[in-house]
Symmetry: C2
Subunit: 288 residues, 2 copies
């Protein structure tokens, strides 16, 4: 499926200017970016071919897991074909003719407000929680109240005609979100690219089940990069686990680990095997 | 510290009528309920003695972990002295003279809207996401728009003078939230009450670290009920783990497991040892 520009389509959750759109622009620049209301809509768009790819956040270095994305990975039969790390850089946006000294109230998602705590506190502004960062910018662009500002991406300033009153106002320059790129069918593995593999499994109802599940990775020298538990929908207080490891499904040591794991699990699904991306390091972080 | 009624004070996050207040009313009926803006404020209130106890949600059977609470447990030096399971029962609230047929838009937290998906869909109402359920009720009580309704607790109807248009409108009657009761200092363990213990630890930077950390529990027959990983603040992509097990810190098998664990951890903290509470079961669930 292509849009009028004949570009492949990548779906993301949020309003125009959301950090997810920024991730798309960085990683998939020659695509058409399709905003979706809910995470569910991103998965459905990929499922029913109205988008070629989806870009979904799964984890933030400061706030942790994005639970909606993980749950939808369990429900939909899509494949993870890549990952991308986006450095989150918050800007303070105001109406076109506003000045920093005029601001009295700041609107944004509670997480963004928390991540800019020092900057807001220094100015003594009132903090007002809204549903998302790009939405705060969009609302401000409609309302244009001279004493209000929004915390959002710089991209939002461009898209909504707002003025950037301050850049990089976050407390920590290490704030990074990990995105997964999802597709209807997986891409073949190329050469011997270093890969990551993502799994979903539910442990069998046996003593020390999780310990036993991890044994095959420990003894076959497969390094785990992530283990996340989530409730199983419709089965309260039953958990399944999302596990990422460094390795390819076609490597012998990984095959051994997966084989051993399957013995201790109720079900086991490989969500994808995809090239590993580099995390932004502290030295690459922008100056404050 | 006591209020004018001479009752001990329990702090909770949210507006009056929030599900956290309902948990307080169920578990600590003879207390004074103190609403706080943010989770942080609940911990601070207990820390600086303006509240005797705090009631904080840590996990929901459908939505999973409440990350803010876990992060604050790591930052504050408080003790977990109890747990409580609250069955979440959503009601549809309207202005006092409204009728079900007048409703066109429903306001609530996105999670509550999702949990009442079938009911809302059947009526074809517009769903509008707001920051919290009790806030949706409070806003409706001010505005009293005849075509608007809020999804919140029945308690909110009483507190804000709204009309209950429909009860138990959630899709699943198994929706339960687990709360922890926090206190400045722990209470002594009584007799041989069955207890749970909550831990926080960071693994050492060694191969198969998590697998090794779980070994002592597996070999000493200590049953884990929860394992949750969270990013360490200020150390991106480093995780610490919250672990709950069934057992008391003064039992020999648990001492052995904790001793073995401490060998493989960078740090290890017992967050509390407290009487285990019963989960509501399916049979106790209310009829639809």
């Amino acid at each position: 499926m292509v849009n009028s520009d004949n570009k492949p389509v990548v779906a993301f959750q949020g309003k125009r200017g959301a950090y997810s759109e920024q991730a798309c622009r960085e990683r998939l620049p020659n695509h058409f970016f399709m905003p979706c209301n809910a995470f569910e809509d991103v998965f459905t768009a990929v499922d029913n071919n109205s988008a070629d790819l989806g870009m979904v956040p799964v984890e933030n270095s400061m706030a942790g897991v994005v639970t909606d994305s993980y749950d939808l990975l369990a429900l939909h039969h899509l494949t993870i074909v890549g990952e991308h790390y986006l450095r989150v850089r918050h800007s303070l946006l105001g109406p076109p003719d506003s000045h920093l000294d005029d601001i009295a109230s700041v609107y944004s998602h509670p997480q963004a407000l928390a991540q800019c705590h020092s900057f807001i506190k220094k100015h003594g502004w009132k903090r007002i929680s809204v549903y998302d960062t790009a939405g705060a910018a969009a609302d401000l662009a409609e309302d244009l109240h001279p004493n209000s500002a929004a915390i959002a991406s710089e991209l939002c300033a461009e898209l909504y005609g707002l003025k950037v009153l301050a850049k990089d106002i976050h407390d920590s320059s290490l704030n990074t979100t990990r995105f997964l790129i999802i597709k209807k069918e997986g891409s073949p593995l190329v050469d011997d690219t270093p890969c990551k593999t993502s799994l979903l499994f539910e442990v069998r109802d046996i003593p020390a089940a999780l310990y036993k599940c991890l044994g095959g990775f420990a003894t076959n020298n497969v390094n785990l990069t992530r283990l996340e538990s989530r409730p199983v929908l419709g089965k309260p207080w039953t958990y399944h686990f999302y596990l990422d490891f460094q390795g390819r499904t076609d490597e012998h040591r990984c095959e051994l680990a997966l084989d051993e794991l399957s013995y201790f699990t109720e079900y086991l699904k490989v969500l994808g095997c995809y090239p590993e991306s580099k995390k932004p390091t502290e030295t690459e972080a922008s100056p404050r």
